[in-house]
Subunit: 432 residues, 3 copies
C-alpha cells in the first residue's frame, strides 16, 4: 500500500517530475537496432518519459534522437527526409544533424546566420546488445552504459524485442520481481519458455507461497524466493532488480535466459523490453521458433506497430476452453501475454492506496521503497544508485540448496559473472 502522494511520485516521469529527473540520470533503451536498419533509412517516432522524439540513422551510420517537432513552426519531422548527414523538415527544408545542429536553412537568405542560432533538442545515443540507447540527462553527468550479460554476448546468442504495454511502467515492473505469481499465473505456460525438463514446473506447483528474502545492493535489490523442495532442500528462485527498471527472470532448466526492462513511454503506457539469450551458445533454431511463436517472452505484434495482436481490446484473445483444461490459468496464450493481461487490467495507473498486500509481496514493497528513496534522495542531492556499469554484472539463479544454507552463500557463484567467464561462455548445467 502506498499513499496517493507516493503513488504519484512513483508513477509520473514526465519532464520536470522528480521521478523523471531520476530516470534521466540513466541510459534508456530507446529502439531495437534493427528499427534503423541502414544509413538514411526512414526516421522512427519514439516517446520516452513523456517526450515525443524522433530517431534516425544518418549517412555515416550515426544515430540521432531529436525532438519530433521542428523548432521553426513545430511541424513533425517524421515527414522529413533523412539524407546527406541530416534530417530535413519537409515544410521549409530546415535540416538538422544527429547532434541537433541546424546545418541547412534554405528558406532564409544565404547570407543569413539565423541557422547558426537554431538547434533542436537532441540526446546522445549508443548501440549495444542490439539496442539503441539514449541518455536524456545533464550531459556532464552521463554515466557509462550498463554491463548486463545479455548486452555482452555475441549477437547470435541473443534475441531482443520491445512492445507497447498500455499501463504505467511500475505495475509492469512489479510483475517482473513477483516470483509468487509464477506458481499460479504461469502454472500452465512456463513450458512455453522452453523448459526442457518438468522439474522447475513441478517445484513451482508444489509450493505456491514462496518466502522472500530481499537484500539491498548497490545496483538495486537481490531477491530470493524460497520454496520447499523436499525435506532436506529448498528451491530458490533468485532475481535482481537493477535500477532503474531492469528485472531478470531466474532461469528454467534447458531454456534460454530472459530479462526485461520496463521503460515509461508516458505515464499511461510503457515499453516492455524482452531479451532472451544463451550465455554459452547461439540461440538454437528451436529457441527462435518458440520465441517467435508468442509462447515465450516475445509477443506477436500488429504489423507496423509495437502493439500486441492479443491486447486489451480483444481480451487478449482469451480461450476459456484452454483455461478450463488447465493449459493456461488465465486462458491466455503465452507467458508474456498472461503478464500483460493482468498488469493492464490493474488500470493504466494502478491505485496502490487500496491494496491488500501479503507476505508474498515483500519484494514489491521493497522495490517501491528503493525507487522512491532514490528519487527523494536525488531531490536532496544524493546521487542515484546503480550507475556503475560493473554492478550490473549479475545473474539470476534457480537452484536447490540445503535447508540450512542461506541463499546468498549457497548460490554465490551463480549470482555474478566476470568478463573472463563471459568470454569462455558460462555453462548452465546447475540450473534447475
Amino acid at each position: 500500500m502506498l499513499s496517493h502522494e507516493d503513488n504519484e511520485l512513483l508513477t509520473r516521469t514526465g519532464s520536470g517530475t522528480p521521478m523523471g529527473d531520476l530516470f534521466r540520470r540513466y541510459w534508456i533503451p530507446a529502439l531495437e537496432s534493427g528499427e534503423l536498419p541502414e544509413p538514411d533509412c526512414p526516421p522512427v517516432r519514439v516517446t520516452l518519459l513523456g517526450e515525443q522524439l524522433l530517431a534516425f540513422r544518418d549517412t555515416n551510420g550515426a544515430i540521432g534522437l531529436v525532438d519530433e517537432f521542428c523548432p521553426h513552426r513545430k511541424v513533425s519531422l517524421f515527414f522529413g527526409l533523412n539524407e546527406n548527414c541530416g534530417l530535413r523538415c519537409a515544410y521549409h527544408g530546415w535540416k538538422f544533424d544527429t547532434t541537433g545542429h541546424c546545418v541547412d536553412m534554405p528558406s532564409e537568405p544565404p547570407e543569413s546566420n539565423f541557422k547558426d542560432k537554431v538547434t533542436i533538442k537532441s540526446y546522445p545515443c549508443e548501440e549495444r546488445g542490439g539496442v539503441i540507447w539514449t541518455y536524456m540527462g545533464p550531459p556532464e553527468l552521463k554515466p557509462e552504459l550498463p554491463e548486463q550479460e545479455w548486452m555482452l554476448v555475441p549477437d547470435s546468442h541473443r534475441l531482443v524485442s520491445r512492445r507497447l504495454q498500455e499501463c504505467n511502467y511500475f505495475q509492469a515492473l512489479e510483475g517482473g520481481i513477483d516470483s509468487s505469481h509464477v506458481s499460479i499465473l504461469h502454472a500452465g505456460s512456463v513450458l512455453g519458455l522452453g523448459v526442457s525438463k518438468g522439474k522447475s514446473k513441478d517445484l513451482l506447483a508444489k509450493d505456491t507461497s514462496p518466502k522472500f528474502e530481499v537484500a539491498e545492493e548497490e545496483y538495486g535489490l537481490l531477491i530470493g524466493a524460497k520454496r520447499k523442495a523436499n525435506e532436506e532442500e529448498n528451491y530458490w528462485r533468485i532475481t535482481q532488480f537493477l535500477m532503474p527498471w531492469y528485472t531478470m527472470i531466474p532461469p528454467f532448466g534447458g531454456a534460454p535466459r530472459g530479462g526485461h526492462a520496463w521503460v515509461p513511454v508516458d505515464d499511461d503506457s510503457c515499453m516492455t523490453w524482452s531479451w532472451s539469450w544463451r550465455p554459452d551458445q547461439p540461440l538454437t533454431e528451436q529457441d527462435m521458433k518458440r520465441e517467435l511463436s508468442g509462447l515465450g517472452l516475445h509477443l506477436k505484434l500488429i504489423e507496423g506497430t509495437k502493439r500486441t495482436i492479443a491486447n486489451k481490446d480483444n481480451d487478449y484473445m482469451i480461450d476459456r476452453e484452454a483455461q478450463k483444461n488447465g493449459l493456461s490459468t488465465a486462458g491466455i496464450i503465452g507467458v508474456s501475454a498472461e503478464d500483460q493481461a493482468v498488469q493492464e487490467s490493474q488500470g493504466t495507473i494502478a491505485d496502490r492506496s487500496a491494496e491488500r498486500l501479503g507476505t508474498s509481496d515483500a519484494a514489491i514493497i521493497k522495490a517501491r521503497r528503493v525507487v522512491l528513496n532514490a528519487c527523494k534522495n536525488l531531490m536532496n542531492g544524493i546521487e542515484p544508485p546503480g550507475l556503475n556499469p560493473e554492478t550490473h554484472r549479475v545473474r539470476s539463479a534457480s537452484v536447490l540448496l540445503p535447508n540450512n544454507v542461506a541463499f546468498q552463500v549457497g548460490a554465490q557463484k551463480h549470482l555474478h559473472f566476470t568478463m573472463e567467464q563471459l568470454e569462455h561462455g558460462m555453462a548452465e548445467e546447475e540450473v534447475v
Copy 2:
C-alpha cells in the same frame, strides 16, 4: 424544464450520490439468466450504477456478483477461473466464493490466517423471470423481489433481452412513458410489434395530441393518454411507471405485451431491458420470429457484446428511402431502434434546462418529480415508494371508453391482476 441542479440529481447514480442511494434500495436487473448458462461457466462483466462488477455461477449453481477487481493488487477477476465453488484470480490464485469470502490464498503460507481477513465486495443475487437480479443496498433493508406480470408467467410465455444504450437512463425512461411520440415516431412501425389489426394504428394516427391524466400511486405513476376515437368514445392508452425505472407499453391488439426497465450502467449509458410476453399462452413461432428480426422491442446485437448493430456510429443504418416512403418516420428500422436513435441523439445526458415542454409532456414532468421527490425524501429519512412487491401487480391497458367515463373507472378491471387470474391465464380480448 429542470434546473441544472435537479438535472444533476436526476441523472447521477454512482456510489455516494443521492440518486445512487435511492436506487440501491431496489432490486436491479443485472443479467439475463442465459448469460450464465451453467455452473462454472465463464464470468461476465457487469457495470451497474457506475460500479464495475463481475458475475459468475458457481459449481452449485449459486450466482455471485462481486467487485471486478481482486482486493490483493486490483487485477481484474475477469481473467479468473471459475471452478470448485469459487472464482480464482489468475495472478496469485486468491479465490472468492459467491458471498465474497476468500476461500483460498495459495500465495500465503498455509499457516497464515490472512485469508480470513480478506473479503471482496459482493451483492446478493436472485433469479426470476429469466433475469438475474441483484440488490446493492444495505443488507438489512433488502425488500422482496417485485411481482410484475412478465416475471411470473411461465418461461414459454416470455422473451427477455438487454442491450446497451449510449445515453443516461432517464432520457431513455422518458421515452417509455411518452405516449405522444407513438403517434409520430412509431407511426410507420407499430406493426412491427405484431399488431394484427390496424385499429390501434388508425386510432393513433387520428389524434396525435393525446391529453394526459396522471395519478400518483404507491408504485409510482398511473398515466392515461386520451385520444379522440369518435364522437362518443375516447381511445385510452394507459401505462404505469413503476419505481424506480420500469415502464409498461399499453398493449396493441393481437400482439404480445411489452415492457422495459432502464437501468443505469454509468451516468453516460444505460442498459435497456425489454420483455415481451403473452399472459395466457406461450409466445408463438411468429411472435418469436418477429421479435428476433429486430422489428419489435428486441434488437440485433454485435456478437459478443450488448451493443446494437444499428447504432449511433452508423446513424442506426438510416434508410432515407424508407423514410420518404412513409415506412418509417425516422428512416430507422424497428420500434426500439427508433427510440434508441432519438434518445441517444439528445446527448449522453440530456440538457433539461433548455427544453420547451408542452402539454403532451405532462407525464414526463410528473415522472421527474416523482423520482426527484423520492430521492429528496430519502435524504430526509423517508422510505422509498414502490418497495412492496404486490404493488407491482399492475397491467397497462389500451381501451375505448365512452366520453363521459373516467379512465380509472372504465378501465379499472384491466389495470391489475391477481395471482389467481395469472394462474388461469388472463384473456386479452378487450384490447384495442
Copy 3:
C-alpha cells in the same frame, strides 16, 4: 511568435468568443451546392464555428440552416423528414421551415398556440459559385456576398470541394500564404497542379528563400514573394489574403487557378475549401481528371464523409520510396495532402509561443496581426475590414519583373479584374 493569450484569441471561434464575433460578421461557405442536390433531399449535418447545425433544401428549393437539435426535447433533427416545405422532427413531429418558424406541432391540441411561440435557431443562406453560404451574425449587419473570381465564372469553368482538416483553421490558413514552403514541400509535386511548363518549377527550385513584401489592403493583405530569376529579373509570386480566411494560389503556367477558404468547424478542426477554375474557358477533361486524382487541390474522401482517405491515422499513406526518389519531399502524394500532413502535425492547435520565425515568415506574422487587430478593433466598436464585396475582385499573379520594378507597379494589371473583363474571359498568357 505569439503570446499564449493572442494564440487563444486567434484560434477560438465558438459562440461568444471575440474571434467568433468577428467571423460572424462575414458570409461563411457552409456546404457544396451538390450536397443538397434537390428539393426535399435528406438534411446534412454541418458544424460551423463550434455550432452544430443542420442544412436542408425545402420543397421550393429554399435552403434552411437550423440548430441540429429540436427545441422541444433536444432530439437531433438529422433523423427528421424533409417534406412539404419544412423539416419535421421524428420524435413528436414538430416541423420547422427554413426561416426557423415552427409550422406544425401535432403533439399539441389543434387549438393550442404554443406552436407560434416556438422557433428554432436559423441562419440565412444563399447559393453562389457552387457553394451554399450562410451568415451567422446580427441580421441588421448582414453584408453582400463577396465577389471573388471563382464565384463569378460559369459553373463549367469551376470545381469546388470541401474536406475536413483535423487542426485549427489558422495553421491551415498560414500554409495558404506561405510561398516559402512551395519551394520545398511541393518541390516534387507542383506538376500535380497541372503545370504544363517546367518553368515555374525551375524558378521555385532556384531560389528557396523568397523575400516578402507585404501591404495591408482594404480586403486584407497583398503579399509579394520575390525570388531571383536571373541577373535582370525577379520571379514574383503574388497572393492575397482576404478577410477573414481566403487565400489565393499564384497561378502556375498552363494550370487552372486555385484558391482556398479555411473555415473553423470547431477549435480543433476546420473545413478546407478548394476551388479550381479557368477564367477564360471551361475546365478541360484533363483538368478534371487531374483534380479528381488527388494530385492537385482536391483530395479523395472516405465515402459518405468529408475525411480524406490519406489522413493522420495512416500517416497520409506515406511512401518512403517516393520520398527517396525525390518525387515528393514528404513522401506524400498530392499537393494538398502534403499541406494537410504538415499542418495537422503541428497539433490540433499549434503552439505559437515556442516558434523560431525567420524572415520567410513575414507574411504569416503580418496575417496574424491583421486578424488579431480586426478582432480587437471590433471589440472596440470598429467595423471589420473586407466586408465590401467589390474589394474581393482581386487576382493572384506569377510574373517576371525587371529588378528595379516594384511588384505592385509591375504586376498592377494582373492583380484585379473588372466585371467586364470577366464577361469576356481574361486570358492567362502572361503567367509564368
